[in-house]
Amino acid sequence: MWAWLLQRISAVVLLVGLMVHLIATHIFNIGQLSYTNIAERLQSAFFIIVDVLLLAAAIYHALNGVRMVLLDYWFSQRSTRRVLDTVLVVFGVAAFGYGLWALWPWITS
């Protein structure tokens, strides 16, 4: 129930956030994508918030999606399902932490 609801909420965050992300990256900066112009965009608190929200929503949505697919075919036992859940949570938290680390200079500036 909670996984289902969060999958819908993250879906809406992704729809709106991806639109902002793609328009900012490829329409305002078309033909000149570089470290410098991404760094410039990340000076703004708005784009940092969008990027961090996207990072969290995308990782959750992706890994919960993988979980839904896997549970349809494997991991029917409660004990193996718990192992899968643990692996997915650890991987997701690690990926989110790594993404935050890569954005850190702009988050703190």
Binding site: A11, S34, L55, A62, G65, V69, G99
Partner: protein, 108 residues
Amino acid sequence: MWAWILFRISGLILVAYLFVHIVIISQGELSGADTLDRLFEMFDSPLLVFLDFMLVAAVLYHGLNGVRVVLMDLGIGIRQHKAVFWSVMVVAAGLLAWFAVVAAPFVF
């Protein structure tokens, strides 16, 4: 049925892309600005622009079919689900065509 299978396949492609994307973009912080800029230049190659086209197709399909799924969960368009599906696919095709027009000079 086919809408659902394609939803899953596109979803799994996007999961793989997401983690590749995180690894690539974080190279700016991990390996420096020059490495990231060199990667961006590489992405202008015809093969990678073509893969980008496939990626955009997967994003549009998954995102717009997802809109239909969320609407149906809210009780909207359940009886007209086929019409809603084809309506969002027209939007997806239009946006994909726009991408193709912009991307074509990189491939041809």
